[in-house]
């Protein structure tokens, strides 16, 4: 019975994935989604990957990191440099992505080991500093072309982003709903109790931080190879804040929330582009309103699950 449930939910998700892929394809060929919307879709996909990976660190494990843009820039520049070296060969994207992931893992380990002993505000400041260091380093390296940045060919389109969005979600959500994720949540809830349960809290904090960094780096690679230009200023502290806003807006600890909020905020940002003057004001006002009326974010800790839905159906049938 239980085993049945697992396969049923997995199957349901598979249908959702294939269904949305086909739907987008149909909409594009029918002309409903034009070129501009396709660009927005890329932004949405990349933002979701950034948001869920940061949510793993902040919402699930409770470690307040402000250095996410730093890992994004590692992925972006690794890909950028390798694409340049390989003259824009299609495979350079994936080689660049892999290099970015490896560098991110190493950097995340170096950053995490001392800083994750810090708590709350201190950790935020330490990771903020780390993000800025990465930016300055990139700004002063020859290979990254300094402040001018790199101009790259567009090498990927939405199906690639879609595939990586699916992979990121599966990996991060499966991690969260396992013994590892439970340990991470216990660290967030009560570190002392968690240690007393035999959990090496530092290990799990580092683990969440590294997994988060890997996917931020992947998002960076996707960004670099779909938006033509990368400059150090794109990955400044502001970018980390943008990602944080998506996570908080959607609800810390809710991946469904990150999806919804990345979608809403990206659409909002784009649709306000014609009101450039007052864009930031409207955007800021909306955020203030959300924080007043839904301080826990749009969805709080709610998570959409097919298993819950099936349980409901099952109960209804029993009643009848």
């Amino acid at each position: 019975m239980r085993k049945n449930q697992f396969t049923k939910t997995n199957l349901a998700w598979l249908l959702v994935i294939i269904g949305s892929y086909l739907l987008i394809n149909v909409l594009i060929s029918a002309g409903v989604i034009n070129k501009i919307y396709q660009t927005v879709m890329l932004t949405i996909g990349i933002n979701i990957i950034l948001a869920i990976s940061l949510n793993l660190i902040i919402g699930i494990t409770g470690q307040f990191s402000l250095g996410h843009a730093g890992f994004m820039s590692i992925g972006a520049y690794s890909a950028g440099v390798i694409v340049k070296m390989m003259d824009g060969a299609p495979s350079s994207v994936y080689i660049g992505m892999l290099v970015g992931i490896l560098i991110s893992i190493v950097v995340a380990l170096i950053v995490a080991t001392p800083t994750l002993r810090l708590k709350g505000d201190y950790l935020a400041i330490a990771t903020l500093g780390f993000g800025e260091i990465i930016r300055i380093v990139i700004q002063n390296m020859k290979i990254t072309n300094g402040a001018a940045g790199l101009v790259l060919p567009k090498l990927i389109d939405w199906p690639v982003v879609f595939v990586f969005l699916v992979i990121s979600t599966i990996v991060i959500v499966s991690f969260t709903y396992s013994a590892y994720g439970r340990a991470c949540i216990s660290v967030r809830e009560d570190e002392i109790a968690s240690e007393t349960m035999g959990i090496n809290t530092t290990k799990y904090k580092i683990m969440a931080f590294v997994v988060g960094a890997i996917f931020a780096s992947i998002a960076g690679t996707l960004y670099a190879t779909s938006f033509y230009v990368i400059k150090p200023e794109i990955f400044s502290f502001n970018k980390s804040i943008d990602i944080l806003v998506i996570v908080v807006f959607g609800g810390m600890g809710s991946f469904t929330g990150s999806f919804v909020s990345a979608l809403l905020i990206s659409v909002l940002n784009t649709s306000l582009q014609s009101f450039a003057d007052i864009r930031t004001i409207i955007y800021g006002a909306l955020l203030v309103l959300i924080m007043i009326f839904r301080p826990q974010g749009l969805l709080g800790k709610y998570e959409f699950k097919f298993s819950k839905l099936f349980d409901k159906f099952a109960k209804k049938e029993v009643r009848q």
Partner: protein, 257 residues
């Protein structure tokens, strides 16, 4: 057989010796009480024994695989994995997790699958999760909380939160269990239930139990031996009757006349 012993255990906070020169010997399957007035250093002693604080001086030794092993100053998670479990005076459940998941966190060290198995959901993930699920339910049965398995821990009434903490401590598979004021805030009926529960888990799980408690009826009722702390020092030890009539203990609680 001695399971746990301390020698001249001391912990200073600045100039204050919260625990000073405490030497204890706990034997296998004993049920020992630790009492003393407020601020006597009982919880500090628990925190030393479970690794939350490092001792300033003295040694703590635990029986591991037949030998006494020094555990003073080790990290709490290492000590837990050597077989010490505990509950907290000011309930420290994982509030946003369900009752069942709280237990599963306790069993975490006992789950055998790697990160990749978790991520790619290999069959081992499902078989291990199934085992963990069933074992967790069994532990909830012990404390009568099976009906509430899907509630968030924070939504349980106070008495049940205390019971859940005990079950969660059992989930770490301890040989020695520390209970820090398990009956605090319970009414007499709940306290009676708790007394039965403590006796039951001691036998069923083959435990050595050390408990801090202010409810004297509970202490005198279940404990085979009692240690009394006052101002960080051990002032008396012995069976309940001798403690009841000990002059120093009466002085510590009521003051000199």
């Amino acid at each position: 057989m001695i399971v746990l012993q301390t020698k001249n255990l001391t912990r200073n906070f600045g100039g204050l010796a919260a625990v000073s020169n405490v030497s204890l010997e706990i034997k296998k399957n004993e049920l020992v009480g630790l009492i003393g007035p407020n601020g006597a250093g009982k919880t500090t002693l628990f925190n030393l024994l479970t690794g939350v604080y490092e001792p300033s001086e003295g040694t703590i030794e635990l029986l591991v695989d037949g030998n006494l092993k020094s555990i003073g100053g080790l990290k709490p998670y290492t000590i837990t994995n050597f077989g010490i479990g505990r509950t907290f005076q000011n309930i420290r459940l994982f509030k946003e997790l369900t009752v069942l998941d709280n237990i599963k966190v306790g069993m975490n060290q006992n789950i055998n699958y790697g990160v990749l198995t978790a991520i790619f959901r290999f069959p081992k993930y499902y078989s291990e999760e199934k085992r963990v699920h069933e074992e967790a339910l069994k532990l909830l049965e012990v404390v009568n909380l099976v009906d509430k398995k899907d509630e968030l821990a924070k939504n349980l009434p106070y008495g049940e939160q205390r019971k859940l903490e005990i079950a969660r401590a059992l989930a770490t598979n301890p040989r020695v269990l520390f209970l820090d004021e398990p009956a605090a805030g319970m009414n007499p009926i709940e306290t009676q239930e708790l007394t039965d529960l403590i006796r039951k888990i001691k036998d069923d799980f083959n435990l050595t139990i050390i408990l801090i408690e202010h409810d004297m009826s509970l202490v005198m009722n279940v404990c085979e031996r009692i240690y009394v702390l006052d101002y960080g020092k051990l002032i008396a030890s012995g069976d309940p009757d001798s403690i009841k009539n000990n002059k120093k203990v009466i002085e510590a609680y009521l003051g000199e006349d």
